[in-house]
């Protein structure tokens, strides 16, 4: 229905309503002003300095939030506000803010994937002078591979909160029962054999759990370490895409076949979280993944298999080591206007005393691992982490390109390619791999498509001479 235009014969509507009209306008203006004024309700403290810290919502980071009173007692002039978001949201938000100079954050949590690129772009500050000037901070105590991964031109641009590598966890009790011994440095061929032997689909029991979920931080992380040790690579030193080489094909085929023969059911949609659940419920004999898994599977509150596992190094093929390297670390964006206060906070959260603070106040099993060598010398931590401390440390020490890759590559990173395009490229390639795991396409088809995705990026680097 359309309403007929109605023309009221009022002669002077304006005059009739002028007073009320004025009032309405005033009201509007007040509302708008109030809205804008409310927006600016930043703390008006006199010499109190406020810093905003963006962190990832993982348990160890939440612990830091809960311990902030300790920081405040040491730095009474600094107030800290936290922005806590899950990994994907945090990464997107922090990247957008730092890349465009948004300036909302004084401290950001990033990883070794971003650090070198962002340092080169001038987006984050050089922390080396600050660290050197801070008494007792001791950057030499950081695990060397992590320190290298967070450095640009020899200086640290972010400092590690925790670090991780990858290793293989296996059920020692079941291995004993079946009369199998885990080799000291297992190869993928040996692991494949054992997994197929222990696999028992009738009892919903998998020989091995491996990530199959699409995502550059999901299936690509373990798979890239397999590709590395098989002698494959994403790009060669002349920036040629190398995703359809026989080495990559062999690695991906073995990974997919192993999942088909002895992996968890529904592997194509199963990621880190699903493998945690499966392994802790006693539904897998082995699992190759992040060393950070120990905080879940060795916790009796959430795991049925706590204390029943042993740990072996990442399985290899052509190399001596194969583990990955990852670190959540803290950096100061160059846009920050409170750099001294920001460093006060960063150094509080990453120094030796913080480790002890967590151990004493929250519990030694909750200590952020893999950042400092001295952590592993603390007797209380050594006692709690007896089963996995040494395997973790060994994995971290050997996680470098020289020991884990056959051919040299032009990019940093083990389980990722340290170029900005990788978030997108890695995700698209991972979707192909996931499709192969689901049986929707063959490994050859998946890798052919992956190669096509990688070629334009390779070309842009060849032409740009980057």
């Amino acid at each position: 229905m359309k309403f007929p235009p109605f023309r009221a014969p009022t002669a002077h509507p304006d005059r009739a309503g002028s007073r009320t009209g004025l009032r309405t306008t005033k009201l509007l203006a007040v509302a708008a002003a109030a809205a804008l004024a409310l927006g600016g309700c930043a703390p008006a403290g006199g010499d109190q300095e406020t810093i905003v810290v963006a962190i990832v919502a993982n348990p160890q980071m939440r612990d830091a939030v809960s311990l902030q009173d300790d920081f405040k007692s040491k730095h009474p002039g600094v107030d800290v506000k936290f922005v806590t978001l899950p990994e994907n949201e945090a990464r997107a938000k922090i990247t957008a803010s730092v890349a465009t100079g948004g300036g909302e954050f004084d401290v950001v949590m990033i990883s070794n994937y971003e650090t070198e690129m962002w340092a080169a772009n001038g987006w984050i500050d050089n922390l080396q002078p600050l660290a050197d000037a801070t008494e007792g901070y001791d950057t030499g105590d950081f695990i060397p591979t992590i320190k290298d991964a967070l450095s640009y031109e020899g200086d640290m641009y972010s400092v590690p909160f925790y670090g991780e590598s990858s290793f293989l966890v296996y059920r020692e009790d079941l291995f004993k029962e079946a009369g199998i011994t885990m080799p000291k440095n297992p190869t993928w061929d040996e692991i494949g054999e054992i997994a197929r032997e222990l696999n028992d689909p009738a009892k919903d029991f998998a020989g091995i759990c491996l990530r199959g979920l699409a995502g550059w931080g999901e299936v690509m992380a373990p798979l890239d370490t397999v590709i590395n040790t098989y002698g494959g690579q994403w790009f060669d030193t002349d920036w040629n895409a190398k995703l359809n080489t026989p080495e990559v094909k062999a690695a991906v085929t073995d990974y997919v076949d192993l999942l088909h023969d002895a992996g968890q059911p529904g592997a194509a949609t199963s990621g880190y979280g699903d493998c945690i659940t499966r392994y802790s419920q006693g539904k897998a004999a082995m699992w190759y993944d992040a060393t950070a898994m120990v905080s879940s599977i060795e916790d009796p509150a959430s795991s049925l298999v706590a204390g029943k596992s042993q740990y072996a190094p990442a399985p290899v093929k052509e190399t001596e080591a194969a583990g990955w390297l990852y670190s959540w670390s803290l950096a100061i964006p160059s846009t920050s206007e409170h750099k001294d206060a920001a460093w006060d906070f960063v150094s509080w959260m990453t120094n030796k005393d913080y480790i002890k603070l967590v151990g004493n106040q929250i519990g030694w099993e909750r200590v952020p691992p893999g950042s400092r060598q001295s952590t592993y010398e603390i007797p209380e931590y050594a006692a709690v982490a007896k089963a996995y401390a040494k395997p973790t440390l060994d994995a971290m020490y050997s996680a470098k390109q020289s020991t884990s890759m056959v051919n040299p590559v032009p990019y940093p990173g083990l389980q990722f390619v340290g170029i900005p395009e990788f978030q997108d490229l890695g995700t698209r390639v991972s979707q192909q791999i996931s499709a192969a795991i689901a049986g929707q396409k063959s490994v050859d088809e998946a890798l052919k498509q992956a190669q096509q995705y990688a070629e334009p990026i390779a070309k842009s680097y060849q032409e740009g001479g980057k």
Binding site: F6, T24, A35, G40, A57, V83, P86, G103, T277, A292
Partner: protein
């Protein structure tokens, strides 16, 4: 072989019998429709039931497979959520939602008047222009908005959210209010003007009381949209202006369990909207059906 064909027994049908069977059939159809309705209602409502149930579970039961239906309810998760600084987020949400809704209504009512009761020139074009602002996906404009807000130093500012939410809800409010205004018979307005009522007086004393249900419905829609808005809030706020939906995602983690806590936070987050809807219920039913007659 002989076949005897016995004629089918003719049941004597009287009028009353027929009526009875028709009634029985009707009753059967009626009760089966009721059953289906209940079933559908249950299916639609089950995620909410599940959410509320999970909110009262301890974390270890929330993630269990197969799911647990009988358990001792606990308020532990609600306590944890409230202790986690939910207050600031709720306050921000209240301000952003409240102020933007008031602004929307103040702007939408005159605009709707101008495109229904006293149509301006090219009303159809104006209406199309309003709605066309909703056609561009938000994700396509977030980067320019972010950069502009950054340059103007209004990132992480509630005022920014209020302006965006007002702009976001205004087209919908104008369209809704227009359809409510159109329900008003021309004679009423004629009578008002005959009695010498001016524009503002007509608006205030004649039109507004007649469209109150519509106004309530429009305001509630604006409240719901602004309260639940996530994308702008996530991208444009940080520590000072973050709203409840951002608080909800911060309950999630890629390591460790969070389902029960997230559910408790979600229950708390949806309470204000449920209360607002319940308060406006009577007006709402009338308001929603008013627009539906056409």
């Amino acid at each position: 072989m002989t076949t005897t064909t016995t004629p089918a027994p003719v049941t004597p049908t009287t009028k009353s019998d027929e009526r009875k069977s028709r009634e029985a059939r009707r009753r059967f159809t009626g009760s089966s429709i009721t059953t289906v309705t209940w079933l559908l209602a249950f299916i639609f409502f089950s995620p909410v039931i599940w959410l509320v149930m999970t909110a009262f579970k301890p974390e270890s039961l929330a993630a269990s497979n197969p799911p647990v239906f009988f358990f001792v309810p606990t308020f532990e998760q609600f306590g944890a959520v409230l202790a986690g600084g939910a207050g600031g987020y709720f306050l921000n949400s209240l301000i952003a939602t409240g102020v933007s809704t008031v602004l929307v209504i103040l702007l939408a009512v005159p605009a709707a008047y101008a495109v229904s009761i006293r149509p301006v020139k090219k009303t159809q074009d104006v209406l199309f222009f309003f709605i066309s602002t909703k056609m561009l996906p938000v994700v396509a404009v977030i980067m320019p908005i972010y950069v502009i807000a950054g340059q103007l130093k209004v990132l992480d500012n509630i005022g920014t959210l209020i302006i965006l939410y007002t702009a976001m809800n205004l087209p919908i409010a104008v369209w809704m209010m227009r359809s409510f205004f159109q329900e008003i018979p021309a004679e009423v307005l004629e009578a008002a003007s005959m009695d010498g009522a001016g524009l503002i007086k007509t608006l205030r004393t004649i039109l507004m009381p007649m469209v109150t249900p519509g106004l309530a419905a429009t305001a509630l829609i604006c409240v719901i949209f602004a309260w639940n808005e996530f994308f702008f809030a996530l991208n444009l706020t940080a520590a000072n202006a973050a709203t409840v939906p951002v608080f909800l995602v911060s309950q999630m983690t890629s390591e460790g369990l969070f389902l029960a806590k997230l559910s408790a936070a979600s229950v708390l987050a949806s309470l204000p909207v449920v209360i607002a809807g319940w308060v406006a219920q009577k007006q709402l039913v009338r308001g929603l059906s008013m627009g539906a007659v056409k």
